[in-house]
Assembly symmetry: C5
Homo-oligomer: 309 residues x 5
């Protein structure tokens, strides 16, 4: 499978990285229906850890079975499938080689008291990722949490180990915790900062949430206003995040959030596309829908990223 | 000993796992009077650590002797015997090879202040398990405790090491601690979540408590009600836990709790069987009874799991 | 030196242990005037660490010199001499091979604030014990302290390393800390629990204090009363601790406490003997007495354990 | 490239250091337009981490691109370019060998609550520096912070590893935290102390801020006054810092702070030069200016250090 | 250089220690003008770390240069020179082999808040000491601090590593912290206890402060009074510390404290000599004096230890 010029140009930005990492990035960028376009759609299924099984899977009970998600990602022609250790292991053999997988190596849960702090447990390793034939590891950081410095130190260690083994690293950069207001969690200045931190830490693919036009930090607000940075549309805000990811030298994808109407999902994707983002990580909006409906939605999203919808 | 088709089907769910782990799971599933049925009864004796020697063994003083439990598990035809380092060592030579053993590698005790938190000490290692010829390690997690993230990190490390050495991992998933109400410790939404977390962490065998029809988390309650998940009977609740264990792709056994009437013990077993669970871990209800009585009870439980009682 | 049948029977209880550990237990059990009887008297000198030099040695200033204790243990025909790193090193060469030594690998001191917690520092290693030709390591745990889980984890690690090198492990199990009342420190239910924990952790020799007939834990009190466990005499209480040490499968010795009248010391020893205990660890009651007096006392204690006094 | 006598004299002060470290110091001292003079100008770009991307780069949007800074350092003839992992990686291949690079291995950010404390995360390693062909690692310490002892221990470990691999170590010594008043952060007694601590820890190049004539510590104030130490001018204060850096045996450079008028920047440089300092680390004052303007400013600074302006 | 009988007798007390350690002790005991007498004077220069450069060196500005101290120790004929990593490195090559050096491997500073606790940072390693050709490592413990247990664990680890490499260990035992009153820091019962703890931890050379006749601990006070221990003179108190150092089996030196009158310094030395101590560690009283004056003072101290003054 020969990489397209678009993909080769993206890979060229990863200077000094091991050929193994570039090969895995190439594999994901050439996979499925968006293969070769420089765009990606990733299916992430770690909501069972975050919210529990009933909230995640009861709306579409077939999704209790880990095989369901592998099959959905394959049939929809997605770029990759991301999940924690247990679910990946449950289908590693059956689906070996059919879709790139991302091992989510840390996870939070809904059974934590406030004093336990905003943090996640490291629940898998680079060795696990290698053993299971994954293309990348995925790791969540919480910029703004009192645990953030520790989380940064964990991921740089794991990233180094992963890259040395030829695995790529995806960082979920989710502002949250003691230094972040509720509105700040989706403020554009914070989102751009979160993307930048992921890039600084060496992420190969950055995952952030779509943002609002709120500005949380007074010092940043001043600059946004003084320099006239456009944050009036979702596409403009996506563009600000792309610029903060080394001026577009790093792949950045955006997450969809909780289940919502299909039109809203499509609008998000058009904004990501128009702002120069590289795609979507979309979970609950697909696997909580009936399979046929989910496949239709994913097909339309692919069309959007191809500029056909 | 040729594995039955039932057992081979169970083993096939452990995709990508080492042959060593599968061999140990097979050994336990083919052991004793339930051998080959896909059902298990495990004798766990760590109550001396949890509650002290008098509360555990004074009702049946023969049980002060570690040899007593090995012999009970063998004579009753059970699937495995689980205990901490000291007691396993005290009979490791005498009973070598006669019953699969599970080394309980962490333990709590009743001499802890509230500020010490809900946690356990790691009191044995994978090396100990190998040296003592064990089939598996057993580890307790407390989802909901402020120590939970640390406990998750400990068991994923030990599980990885154990699996690499060909040992299986049993996770005791007991919701407890700062984020869990008293009723919540046995609420069905929490029990299913606890089983799911164990599966996500890579448990080969999951151990949870039987649950009530209480729903602790408001967000989960909404979903249980909206989706009409049946939690009205113990068997239905067992089925919810089984579904949350990767739709039955992982072995799940249920614990019996403190000593109670024999009929109640039998009713529990029937519910586990009817809900699709894989069996019982039953300690105090057997070793705190006189030996003859305990053997009778275990015989009847075996009949129940065989569908004969 | 051929081991007696009594000693061989004791060693047979250490199933699955390395020959090295058994050899060291044999060495201590065959040493001195109690050699071969299955009884032991150990001289422990870590009070300088715990209480400072003046309180420990000023009553008998010869005892400031580490050589004094080696010589006392040898001349009295004791089973072993236990001390921290510094004092053992100060006589390791002069007395090499003349008496088994136990390296006390952790220690507390009297210069700690309340907020520093009930804990000890690990002040020596298994490597030190090997280098100094010791027979065993000694380690104190504080069941009931907020540091207890950490202490348990430390000793199981050190015990594993020691056993692999052919060294035995003695656990000083001293209930103390946030979860223990003052009376509870010597309550019989707590003492038996403490002995049991040491056994569970893999101690080869267990050291506990003699206890009173107080029962601290309400749940335990209920069982002691319901089952009619005899705790009316010191001998009965010793027997309860022996039973809690795997029904006598582990060596258990009792400590003497602060200096007191000779008759009281002898009464303690008779109770230990009559309750089935394996002997005494006796420090201040010997080295704070003038040497001649100490030798007389130790001679009489040996006679008591031999059933002659 | 033959080292000048001036440079050889400087290197001679690094007694007992590995030839690899000396070679990297030599490389930086012989690089660019100040090569051979014993003076240095370093371009540091870690403000994106510290203050976020908008505050750092929006005033001169070309600076969002990591290549911009490499090119600026090269075109201006600077001694070295310092940045965190991500940005160095983004240009490591394109600019390989064209300018010495310093990998900033720890970083702070503006998204931390007060309770998170004054600390930084270690976000890169010596291995990363080697892989990326760097000349040195850079590390920030916060003397006066409750995290200071930990930071000291981190850098001495990393410095040892770096030196053994032939990499130099630059320490950013920034007084900050619980023991430092706001005025104290730039007080001359604190600045000199901070420089001295960096020297004691083994820094090869020391980076401190320019200071005021405030004296924070009463004990130090007494000595400054009693001994009549001149702190009336910036040059005199630079000289005090130089003297505190082993009487000039260690290279010391001064940072410029936030963006300000060009004349002020030039005055600072003259004071550094006249006080015997080795140069400037200057970031925002250059990259937040338009490129042509920045090159002019850097050219003038070079002239100042050469004594021509 | 043949060791004197006095020195050989001292070395014989270090039973079971490596020949490497004994060789380094011998080297220091045979060095300089006190060589062979069993007495030592050590020059320690870590005050720049503890109090900052101005308070330490401004009274005698030549002392800002690390070479100054090497030269002073050599010219005065002292036994050894002790300093942190940075200053030792600054002269390691120039003065190689001319005076035994002690690498001070941990250090405190005056920029710490109360909540940071009484602790020190480990700022150098055994590897550093070997690389720099040192004879020993030096380590400060704070008995009575909440950090004391951690400090004890650090030094026993470093001592073990050092001894295995043939380096001696000097322990600065300075009571300080939460459990110690201001008067208690120099109380004789605390000083003797501090010396004893250092000996127990395996120190080859013990450094304590001279003490007052205050008794801090009530339990100790009782014993001092009951046993009639003489603490009325400085010499008597030195003797109590010597006795607490394994009855004189360990070298013990005393520190001089802040700068004071020369007569007072001489009186201290006579008390150390008369009480059986092994010498002085004297820093500020020498390097804060003008060089000629310092050499005179050191000459007189040497005479005192030789019994000539």
């Amino acid at each position: 499978m020969k990489a397209t010029r678009t993909v080769r140009n993206i890979l060229a930005n990863y200077e000094g990285e091991t050929p193994g990492v570039k090969a895995q990035l190439c594999r994901m960028l050439m996979q499925g229906k968006l293969g070769g376009t420089g765009k990606m759609i990733i299916l992430p299924v770690d909501q069972g850890f975050e919210h529990g099984p009933a909230r995640s899977f009861a709306p579409n009970p077939d999704a209790y079975d880990p095989h369901y998600h592998y099959q959905l990602a394959i049939d929809a022609g997605l770029s990759a499938y991301a999940a924690p250790l247990g679910p990946l292991e449950a289908g590693a053999d059956t689906f070996a080689g059919q879709v790139p997988t991302i091992l989510k190596v840390n996870s939070a849960n809904s059974l934590m008291s406030d004093t336990a702090g905003k943090n996640q447990a490291v629940t898998a390793s680079v060795d696990d990722a290698l053993r299971l034939g994954c293309s990348a590891i995925g790791f969540t950081i919480y910029p703004g949490s009192d645990a953030a410095l520790d989380m940064f130190e964990e991921i740089v260690e794991m990233r180094r180990e992963a890259a040395a083994c030829g695995l790529a690293t995806v960082i979920w950069s989710y502002p949250r915790g003691e230094a972040i207001t509720k509105d700040g969690e989706t403020a554009i200045d914070i989102a751009a900062y979160a993307a930048h931190i992921a890039a600084l830490l060496g992420a190969h693919i950055i995952k952030v949430k779509l943002s609002t036009d709120h500005l949380m930090l007074p010092e940043a607000k001043k600059v946004y206003e003084a320099e006239g940075i456009d944050i009036s549309t979702q596409a403009a805000r996506v563009a600000d995040c792309v610029k903060s990811s080394f001026n577009g030298r790093r792949l950045i994808v955006f997450s969809g959030g909780s289940k919502k109407g299909a039109d809203s999902v499509y609008d998000d994707a058009r904004a990501i596309r128009d702002g120069g983002g590289n795609g979507s990580i979309i979970g609950r909006n697909t696997f909580q829908r009936e399979r046929g409906e989910a496949l239709d939605m994913l097909g339309k999203l692919i069309d959007i990223y191809k500029g056909k919808a």
